[in-house]
């Protein structure tokens, strides 16, 4: 058959069908030019055949068919999909106004005349949309379906048989015309055909029904069948149009596709490079990761011999061994280790896992090869063994250290917080939670400034963390005063350490927070107290000075009149300017005695005051004690004899001299002797013993006098104390002699003590003096 004749035949065939249907129908060639159009097309779109056939479809009726959606269907969708149904196009046609059309298109992939033909059925559903006349429209559309098209009457006898049907079933039109369609039914399918015809006679439809039919050569094939009723001009049912195509290959392919899609998605999902080879070891599929790892491109991979991939870099003896020797014997091989120096990626150690699959993907056998790059793992494994023991030791000590650190953190009283390099909280001590009244869940992981409602957003803290710490790893006693919403105004001392972690570039900041609010208060109080104390000390010094000045003044002021009293009394008593009578002389003597007593009193009070103020100074010299004691005994001898007392002296021959203030020593002994005389009634005995001691000398002045009651033993040192006895009234004294003597002894570094067995049992005063007085000033 010539091409021309084929086209003619095709035209005639098409025309027959096309003209029987009422729906507009257009047949286009591969250039989208109209081959012919149905009568109804001319009627509906009001165009003439002369201006239609041979025209580009878009140019029809003054280019009113140049519809973008139509272009899309014809130029984009159809080349990919042979069939496209119910493509809805709304368009305002120049001739007929706005219409809604449903386009059903079929590209006939391999029509008998080998010319690519597109059948375009145009259903004007504008009306239908209004009237819902769906049944009427649907039947017409189904009529246009091509592939195999068989026309039959309502009893199933074939009235038309196209070339497509012939190629599907192997029967020619001549063979089939007038034959019943049940001829095509494989055993058991006759009933199906009858019921289909019955359904159609009742106005039913059968769409894309997949079923089986038998070819002329007896082979049973899968077909997709669409049956539609055919109506005559009066709309009466007059036959059935059957449109079908052989889906045997498609079905197999679809099965394969499903498997292939499934495995492809697996292949592309796994991390490991995967490669699928056919029985000739050519690449069928490769996973994305394969391209990534081995740096090859899809176009230089698929279809190539595996050994040739990437400049023959896959031509590895061990791979050849695996694929050519091992795999044919064993369908499965795991963990086949291959070391190879790749041109693109260097020396690698790979673990190959291979599966040989018989009759996969339409090939006799395929090989699935999973490639795992274990170079790094191997390196790590090698290093691992070596370092594991070290690590164990380190880990142990690290654990201990970590445990220790944590326990330190939780043990210390001060709130402690550790931050990472982003200033987020890593760890916090218990005391931190307690002190700042925050909860763990709102603390860890937070930015320090955000803690507790951003109450930590303190400018000085920012300065410390962001400016100071990056320059100095350590910062101590950074004082921050802040008004916290939870705990009020606080003064804190921050101690920060920045710890650089040895591994990695992390750094950790350890922040110890000491609340010194209370301490600061105490310090301020102390400072104040200190100031007050200083003032007090100054005041005391001033007071002491005033007291000294007062004493000096008093001394002067009291002695000046006494100078006159005693002086003139003495002059009178001495009768310097003429004799006195006996009474005058006695009275002047009384004045003189009282004056001298007053003077003694003044002197002793001054001495006591000086001692108490620490102002008494010793003028040291070598004091010849033996002669001094004898001299003093002579001084009181007069008083002793006047009171008819007996005096006993026991002064050791080896009594040493001492370094002391001679005047003071005289005063001490004179005081003690005069006391003994005063407090011993007539006829009694007084005595003085003196001997060398370990450190110097020891002197005792004793008497058989009134003694001291035990309860008064300490009172006698208080000053102005006079033992209250009937006898005391007649004794003269200041009451200062004993305390003054004791102070003077102590000033020399000695000790003075008084012993008495009680009232009227006498008393004994004992004192020591060191060889050299040490309390010199």
């Amino acid at each position: 058959m010539t091409a021309n004749k084929t086209i003619t035949v095709s035209h005639e065939f098409s025309e027959g069908i096309v003209n029987t249907v009422r729906e507009p129908l257009v047949v286009l060639d591969q250039d989208l030019r109209v081959v012919f159009a149905s009568r109804s097309f001319y009627e509906v779109f009001r165009v003439n055949p002369g201006e239609t056939v041979g025209q580009l479809i878009y140019d029809l009726g003054n280019k009113q068919w140049d519809i973008p959606r139509l272009r899309e269907l014809l130029e984009t969708i159809l080349p990919q999909k042979a069939t496209f149904d119910d493509y809805e196009v709304v368009h305002d046609f120049a001739t007929i106004g706005k219409r809604t059309m449903l386009l059903n298109a079929r590209r006939i992939p391999s029509p008998p005349e080998k010319a690519k033909v597109i059948l375009l059925a145009i259903e004007d559903i504008t009306k239908r949309k209004r009237r819902d006349d769906s049944n009427y429209t649907l039947a017409a559309i189904v009529n246009t379906s091509v592939d195999g098209i068989i026309g039959k009457n309502l009893q199933g006898y074939v009235v038309s048989w196209n070339n497509a049907a012939e190629s599907i079933y192997g029967y020619t039109e001549e063979e089939m015309l007038g034959k019943n369609i049940t001829l095509l039914a494989p055993p058991g399918y006759e009933e199906e055909i009858h019921s289909q015809l019955n359904r159609l006679q009742q106005g039913g439809l059968i769409n894309n029904h997949e079923t089986k039919r038998v070819r002329k050569d007896g082979v049973i094939i899968d077909i997709s069948l669409t049956l539609s009723p055919i109506r005559d001009q009066s709309d009466a049912l007059c036959g059935v149009s059957a449109i079908m195509h052989d889906i045997t290959a498609q079905k197999k392919a679809r099965q394969r596709l499903v498997i292939s899609e499934y495995s492809d998605s697996i292949i592309n999902t796994v991390r490991e490079p995967l490669i699928v080879l056919d029985q000739d070891l050519r690449v069928v599929t490769v996973s994305r990761s394969f391209y990534d790892v081995f740096k090859v491109k899809p176009e230089e991979t698929v279809g190539k011999l595996i050994y040739d991939l990437g400049n023959n870099q896959w031509d590895i003896p061990k791979l050849r061994e695996l694929l050519e020797t091992i795999l044919p014997q064993k369908a499965t091989f795991d963990n086949y280790e291959v070391e190879h120096n790749f041109a693109t990626i260097g020396r690698r150690i790979m673990l190959l896992n291979a599966r040989q699959i018989e009759r996969g993907m339409g090939k006799e056998r395929i090989i699935l090869l999973a490639i795992e790059d274990i170079t790094e793992r191997k390196e790590i494994e090698t290093g691992l063994e070596k370092t594991r023991k070290e690590l164990e030791v380190i880990k142990k000590s690290a654990d201990e250290a970590s445990e220790f650190a944590e326990s330190v953190i939780n043990t210390v009283r001060e709130p402690l917080i550790s931050l990472d390099q982003d200033l987020r909280v890593v760890t916090v001590s218990r005391s931190f939670y307690e002190f700042f009244k925050v909860k763990p869940e709102e603390t860890v992981g937070q930015l320090i400034y955000d803690l507790g409602n951003k109450q930590w957003d303190i400018p000085k803290l920012r300065e410390l963390l962001e400016t100071i710490l990056p320059q100095k790893a350590t910062f101590d006693n950074y004082e921050v005063e802040h008004d916290f919403s939870t705990i009020g105004r606080r003064i804190m001392l921050l101690n920060a350490r920045q710890i650089q972690r040895k591994l990695g570039k992390e750094r950790i900041i350890l922040l110890a927070i000491e609340d010194i609010t209370e301490r600061r208060k105490v310090e301020n109080g102390l400072e104040k107290a200190h100031g007050e104390l200083n003032e007090l000390a100054t005041e005391l010094k001033r007071t002491a000075r005033v007291k000294s000045e007062f004493l000096a003044n008093m001394s002067h002021e009291l002695r000046t009149p006494l100078n006159s009293i005693n002086g003139f009394s003495e002059v009178l008593f001495d009768e310097t300017f003429g004799p006195l009578n006996e009474k005058q002389k006695k009275y002047v003597n009384n004045v003189l005695t009282s004056g001298k007593h007053l003077l003694l009193l003044i002197n002793q009070i001054l001495d006591m005051a000086k001692l108490e103020a620490g102002k008494m100074k010793l003028g040291l010299s070598t004091v010849p004690m033996k002669s001094l004691l004898h001299e003093l005994s002579l001084l009181v001898a007069d008083m002793v004899s006047k009171k008819d007392l007996h005096m006993v002296l026991e002064i050791a021959d080896d009594l040493p001299d001492v370094e002391a203030d001679e005047l003071k020593v005289k005063e001490i002994i004179y005081n003690l002797l005069s006391n003994a005389v005063k407090f011993t009634p007539g006829g009694g005995t007084i005595g003085m013993r003196a001997k060398k001691s370990e450190t110097g000398i020891e002197v005792e002045v004793w008497d058989t006098g009134v003694g001291i009651a035990p309860e008064n033993r300490e009172k006698i040192f208080e000053g102005f104390f006079r033992v209250d006895t009937p006898y005391s009234r007649v004794t003269e004294g200041t009451g200062l002699g004993l305390p003054l003597s004791r102070n003077l002894v102590e000033l020399h570094g000695g000790k003075l003590s008084v012993e008495s067995e009680g009232l009227d049992k006498g008393a004994s005063v004992r004192f020591t003096l060191p060889a050299i007085a040490w309390k010199t000033v």
Partner: protein, 134 residues
């Protein structure tokens, strides 16, 4: 020829007592109640000895002594301070004055004139001048 003594004291009773005691002992006694008149009297009479209180109304005895010492006519006259003060401060003041001595108040009337006489023309050691009644 009688020895001349100048007594300077603002207390009239003491002035009288000391004058009496010195006159009884044979001194020709001049008196003054303050430093100014005392210094004037010393320049006028050029006494053999000056007996002076430490506390005087117009200036301290030590200050008057310093003035007398700067004047060639009075610089060699021995000065005996008679003072009731017991403070060390006073002693230092006296120690700073050349050819001077010290007798504490109240004075011993039986030895006073004799003690004064010892200072004349001798520059006696101060230790000997110290007296203390009591």
């Amino acid at each position: 020829m009688k020895k001349k003594a100048l007594v300077v004291d603002d207390n009239e009773n003491n002035l009288l007592l000391e004058k009496d005691l010195l006159e009884v002992a044979g001194f020709e006694v001049f008196t003054a109640k303050d430093c100014r008149s005392g210094i004037a009297m010393a320049r006028k009479e050029k006494p053999d000895i000056i007996v002076m209180d430490m506390r005087l109304p117009d200036m301290r005895g030590s200050e008057a002594a310093a003035i007398l010492r700067r004047d060639l006519e009075t610089s060699d006259i021995p000065i005996v301070f008679v003072t009731a003060s017991v403070l060390a401060e006073g002693r230092e003041e006296i120690g700073a004055v050349p050819n001077s001595g010290f007798i504490g108040k109240p004075i011993n009337t039986r030895t006073f004139a004799k003690e004064i006489g010892q200072f004349i023309g001798q520059g006696l050691p101060k230790a000997n001048a110290k007296t203390r009644t009591g």
